[in-house]
Every structure is written in structure tokens, then in C-alpha cells.
């Protein structure tokens, strides 16, 4: 039987191949959409895992979360440094780390922070040590620099027409273990170095108090460089790192807070949601974004399933015509003594085999495509996006198989209507 089916398919090689490819492509589309959506969702959820609570100046929640979790450059308003000091002292807080973005080096974001955040991201460093001096830098696992290498920070990003800061050259002292997050592409430096670089000393902060809307990031014009340079012609890279913050602390775009308990997390979020500050759970913001992502997925999946139905209809048409053209062969099989069930099984089996091969090929193509897309995304964002099958995919596959069984039955049963003599005469 199998031998006969294969010999038969071999005769209609081109047609069989076309049917397989058609089915494979339509299946691949659904597989890619499903896997990719899951990869993005899982990948970004894992990237957000280490960021329990973010506190920033009042503004957009989404922007605050995306900037801190994915290090997306965006003009965030500055929040008074006094809040960092207050959070650091709060008994419900395990640690509060400032996150100061805005500079870059060779396309890598340079982020000002503290050793606590580095410890939270990478409990043990892959190489080297954390920073002890203002001019030290710890790099993410994806940053292609050696320990001891020099890093010249640039204000903003190169493609935004930023300029290079000449006041300091960082020296790489350590490298974090891979975290699978956007922070793998980051260069972490002491927050105080960033402040000084931008002429924001404790005293100056007083002058700027209330003038919150200024952004460390891309607001070139809001930044008086001559003024900066006058006040900070050179930064002492050898000075020790001071991670104690008080009311005089300069402004910062965001503070990452690690609350001690879940209840504390909710209480803190409640407290820091006010006129001037904003507190968000990044995971919650992402969930809201996924809802949109999920809608997009539903739409894409509907399109994919639509194409699948069209393809199956086309395949059905082809096979009905094919069976029509093979009436003689089918009639002959019965005339020479093959039982009807065998004839039905052959027609059904051939079609089902094509469906199955197309499906298998489609799953492979879809998986490969999702892997490729994920790899491309990871290369640009450093966020690891796991392409993996889940149990619920099995029900989709099962549906396809059931559909394939039913669809292939139609032409198979149509062969029964013919008398062998009729079939032979055609």
C-alpha cells in the first residue's frame, strides 16, 4: 500500500511538491506568528524581571518603563535627587539605585548607576571588579571591550549629532555575566561621574531646582555646554565612588527600587504616585503593552489561518480534479480485485501524507523563521527572545490534523460513487 502510494506520488512529483510547499508556507506563517509573539513576550518579561519598581518624575509610565528596562533613549524628565535619598533610607526598601541615561559610546548606552544595581543584575561578575573610582566602568556581556579598555562617552547618540565628552575617559574594570536583557549592551558607570560630566553638582542642583523638564538625554539646546565646561573642565577619574545620597543629590531620570516585600512594593507605588513623581511596576506596563501585542497577534493569526483555509480549499480543488483525472486508475484497481476500502485508503492516504509533509515542513520553516527574527532582534537589543513551543501549540496542531483528516476524506469518498465500469470507460 505505502509502496503504491509512493510510486503514485512519484508520478505526480511536481504537483505533490507544489501542494506540500503551499501547505508548508501557510503553516509556517501561523507558526512564526505564534512563536514570535511568545518569544517577544517571554523575552521582554524576563528582561523586566529584575526591575520591580521604578520611580521617576511625573510623565509617561510607558516611557519610564521602556527606558529603564530596554534602555530605549527617550527624553525623560528629571526627578529631584532628594527622592533617591529618601528612598535609600526607607526601611521598606532593600536598595534604591539611580539610573542615569543619556550618554553613549559606540552605540552602547552609557548608564550612570551604583554598585548595588550591578550586583542585582549580575551577582557575580564574569570578569574583573566593580567600580571603585569615578572613572571606572563595568560593561555588559555583549559589549565588545576588554578589561582595561578606554571608553570615551558621547553626549546623546552619535546619529543624533552628539558630541564627545572630553572631560573624562572611563576605563573598563569589569564585565557582567549575561543577563539576557538590554543591559547586556550597556556600559555602567558611577552615577556621580555622569552628574559631573553634565555639570550637575549638588550645589548646582539647587539652581536648577524646579526646572525639572530638562533631560539629560537628547535635549541638546536645554544644555548649556560652555557653562558646564566652566564648572567642570576636568573630572578626577581617580576619585573614589560615593554612593551615599542626601537631599542635595542632583536630579535623575529614574530610580530602580527593590522593595523588601510585595506589600511594601504596592505601598511604595501608592506613595510615589503623585503630582511630581511617578511609580510603576514595569511588568504591569509590559502586560498592558502585550495586550496590544496580543491584538496584533490575533489579527496576524487570523490572516494566517485565513490563508490556510484558502490553501486547503485550493488543495481540495486540485485533488478533486486529480481524482477525476485518475478515475481510470481507480476503476482499474477495483476491477482487478482491490477492495473499496483499499482504494479509499490510497486516495485518502496520499492526500493525508501531503498534508502531513506540508505541515511538518511548515513547522520547521516557521521555527527557523522565528529563530532568525529572534536572533536579529537579539543582535540589536541584546534581549534574549526564547523561541519555544508550548503545550497549547499541540491543540493547534491537533486541529490541523483533524482538519486534514476530514478534508482528505472528501475526495476519497467521492471515488466510491463510481462504478468500476464507469471509471474504466472515462
Amino acid at each position: 500500500m505505502i509502496r503504491f502510494i509512493l510510486a503514485d506520488l512519484n508520478r505526480f512529483k511536481a504537483g505533490a511538491l507544489a501542494v506540500i510547499v503551499l501547505i508548508a508556507l501557510s503553516v509556517a506563517l501561523s507558526v512564526t506568528v505564534t512563536l514570535q509573539e511568545r518569544a517577544v513576550r517571554l523575552g521582554s518579561a524576563r528582561a523586566a524581571e529584575k526591575f520591580d519598581l521604578l520611580v521617576g518624575a511625573a510623565g509617561s509610565e510607558t516611557q519610564l518603563a521602556l527606558s529603564a528596562v530596554f534602555l530605549q533613549p527617550s527624553p525623560l524628565p528629571l526627578m529631584s535627587g532628594a527622592i533617591l535619598a529618601k528612598l535609600s533610607e526607607d526601611p521598606r526598601v532593600e536598595f534604591a539605585a539611580p539610573v542615569g541615561f543619556g550618554d553613549s559610546a559606540d552605540g552602547h548606552p552609557v548608564v550612570g548607576t551604583t554598585t548595588r544595581l550591578i550586583a542585582a543584575l549580575s551577582p557575580t561578575l564574569a570578569e574583573g571588579t566593580g567600580f571603585m573610582h569615578l572613572g571606572d566602568a563595568v560593561i555588559g556581556s555583549e559589549v565588545a571591550r576588554r578589561i582595561g579598555a578606554e571608553i570615551k562617552p558621547m553626549h546623546g547618540a552619535a546619529d543624533e549629532g552628539g558630541h564627545t565628552h572630553t572631560e573624562i575617559v572611563y576605563r573598563v574594570t569589569g564585565r557582567m555575566a549575561p543577563t539576557g536583557t538590554a543591559w547586556d549592551r550597556a556600559i555602567l558607570v558611577p552615577i556621580r561621574a555622569v552628574w559631573q560630566l553634565h555639570g550637575m553638582t549638588a550645589h548646582e542642583h539647587h539652581d536648577h531646582a524646579g526646572e525639572v523638564a530638562e533631560t539629560v538625554a537628547a535635549n541638546e539646546h536645554g544644555h548649556d555646554h560652555d557653562h558646564d565646561h566652566d564648572h567642570a573642565p576636568h573630572i578626577d577619574a581617580g576619585a573614589g565612588v560615593d554612593e551615599h545620597f542626601d537631599a542635595e543629590t542632583p536630579g535623575i531620570p529614574a530610580v530602580l527600587v527593590k522593595p523588601k516585600t510585595i506589600a511594601d512594593a504596592y505601598r511604595l507605588r501608592q506613595e510615589y504616585r503623585g503630582e511630581t513623581t511617578l511609580a510603576v511596576f514595569p511588568a504591569e506596563v509590559l502586560t498592558r503593552l502585550y495586550a496590544t501585542l496580543g491584538d496584533a497577534r490575533s489579527l496576524l493569526l487570523a490572516i494566517a489561518i485565513g490563508t490556510q483555509i484558502i490553501v486547503i480549499a485550493a488543495v481540495l480543488l486540485v485533488t478533486v480534479m486529480h481524482v477525476g483525472a485518475r478515475r481510470r486508475q481507480i476503476g482499474a484497481l477495483r476491477a482487478f480485485g482491490a477492495p473499496r476500502r483499499a482504494v479509499v485508503a490510497i486516495v485518502w492516504g496520499e492526500l493525508f501524507l501531503l498534508f502531513l509533509l506540508g505541515f511538518a515542513l511548515g513547522v520547521c520553516i516557521g521555527y527557523a523563521a522565528a529563530q532568525f527574527i529572534s536572533a536579529t532582534l537579539t543582535a540589536t537589543t541584546a534581549i534574549r527572545m526564547p523561541v519555544e513551543f508550548a503545550w497549547q501549540d499541540l491543540s493547534l496542531a491537533l486541529w490541523f490534523v483533524v482538519l486534514a483528516v476530514l478534508v482528505s476524506t472528501v475526495p476519497a469518498l467521492s471515488t466510491l460513487r463510481l462504478s468500476p465500469a464507469q471509471a474504466l470507460r472515462s
Binding site: A335, F336, A338, P339
Partner: protein, 228 residues
């Protein structure tokens, strides 16, 4: 071997007023050999289809060794034919992509598991019919060889009846004679009842009785063919 008894057989097709075939009575004894002749369109194939159960009859009975196949369901008729009737057609109806041997055993293999006995008998038949290599791909055989493979296939399950519809019509004279000789010889050897549609007078002479059809009726029969 089975005897054929036809009575009151009528075959009609939709859209045609007169019956395409009308045979009040025909008897072929078990092991006898009947030739059917007649002009094209005279109803020969229709008769073959009726006696082999390939087509449902309109009226009457067609009984082989006491089994009236006109009263069987389509599935039962298929089963009866598979068990008792070996068929040879004008166009051989062999399946490309398979070897000579695979073609011979295909109908049996599709119905049940192939036994060692089936296998040996298939190889023996291919040898008898003069096919040197059983594993040769069917599409590489000559037309004469193809029809011999078809004969071997018809004989595999040792049928009591062999029915051939113009088996030599698409072959050249010499090849046709060889195939005709082979069919008659093997049928006689197995003691199978033989029914052959043929235009070939030489082939007809090899068989012990004959009938001639015209417009679906028997218009002439040899002394041995008991028909009325």
C-alpha cells in the same frame, strides 16, 4: 471453475430507450471457453461488465456456479470478482512506478497480506508468461510483455473464471497470437471457464464455442453455445 447462467439479462443506460444489451438466456458450462464477437458498439463490453459485476444490471440474473451476482451489493460484487474472476483488458491497466512482480501482486496486496504462496505463484506465473525479470519496471516492457504481465495478474488468485475484453486488439498480429495462445493454454491448465471478446478469427477458432452480438442481442451461436 464455474458455470455461467444468464437469464433475462437487460442493460439499459439513461437516455437510451432500447436496452443496450438483452440476453434472454445463455449458458456456459464450467471449464468451457466462449468467444464473443460482434461489431463495435454491439454490446460486447457491456456484456463483459455485466458478467464480471463491474456494472449493475438493469434486470435479470447473472449467476456463476449458482451465485447470482446481479443481486449482490457493489462491495460484495467486488469481493466476488476478486475471488473468482481474472480480468484481462484491451489497455493493460498496469501501474507505472511499480515492477512487473509488484503489478501482478498489487490487487491481492491491497486486499490482504501477501503470503509466501502468493509470491511463489506470482513468480511462477511471470516465468510461464515469459517475463525474464520480475523486478523490471513496468514502463520499460514491450506491449506484448505488458499484456502477459496482465495475464499473470488475472491468474494470481487462481480464479475459476477468466474474462478477457479484446486482449489482443492493441497488439500486432504475432504478439497477439502469442498472447491468445497463452491465455487459452493457461485457462485450460487451470481448468478455468474462459470468456473472451475478440475480433480475431484465429483466436475464436482456438475456443470451443462462440456467440455473435448485434445491437445487444445474440444473433449467431456455434452449435456448442447453448443460447436462446
Amino acid at each position: 471453475m464455474l458455470a455461467l447462467d444468464i437469464s433475462g439479462l437487460e442493460m439499459r443506460f439513461p437516455g437510451i430507450d432500447t436496452p443496450v444489451l438483452s440476453i434472454p438466456r445463455l449458458h456456459v458450462p464450467a471449464g468451457a471457453q466462449l468467444a464473443i464477437t460482434g461489431a463495435s458498439g454491439s454490446g460486447k463490453s457491456t456484456l463483459v461488465n455485466a458478467v464480471t459485476g463491474l456494472e449493475t444490471t438493469t434486470a435479470g440474473s447473472v449467476s456463476w456456479g449458482g451465485t447470482d451476482i446481479a443481486r449482490l451489493s457493489a462491495g460484495k460484487r467486488d469481493a466476488f470478482r476478486a475471488a473468482h474472476i481474472g480480468l484481462v483488458m484491451q489497455d493493460f491497466h498496469l501501474f507505472p512506478g511499480l515492477s512487473a512482480f509488484e503489478n501482478v501482486v498489487l490487487p491481492v496486496r491491497l486486499a490482504r497480506r501477501l503470503t509466501q504462496i502468493d509470491r511463489e505463484r506470482a513468480l511462477g506465473l511471470l516465468e510461464t508468461t515469459g517475463i525474464a525479470r520480475a523486478s523490471q519496471a513496468i514502463e520499460t516492457l514491450s506491449r506484448g510483455e505488458m499484456q502477459r504481465v496482465a495475464v499473470a495478474r488475472a491468474l494470481l488468485s487462481n480464479p475459476g473464471v477468466i474474462v478477457a475484453d479484446e486482449p489482443t486488439a492493441s497488439l500486432d498480429r504475432r504478439t497477439g497470437d502469442e498472447v491468445a495462445e497463452l491465455i487459452v493454454r493457461l485457462a485450460r491448465q487451470d481448468g478455468a471457464t474462459l470468456v473472451v471478446v475478440t475480433h480475431d478469427p484465429v483466436f475464436r477458432e482456438r475456443l470451443d464455442r462462440h456467440i455473435t452480438l448485434e445491437g445487444g442481442r445474440i444473433v449467431e451461436h456455434s452449435a456448442e453455445a447453448w443460447a436462446a
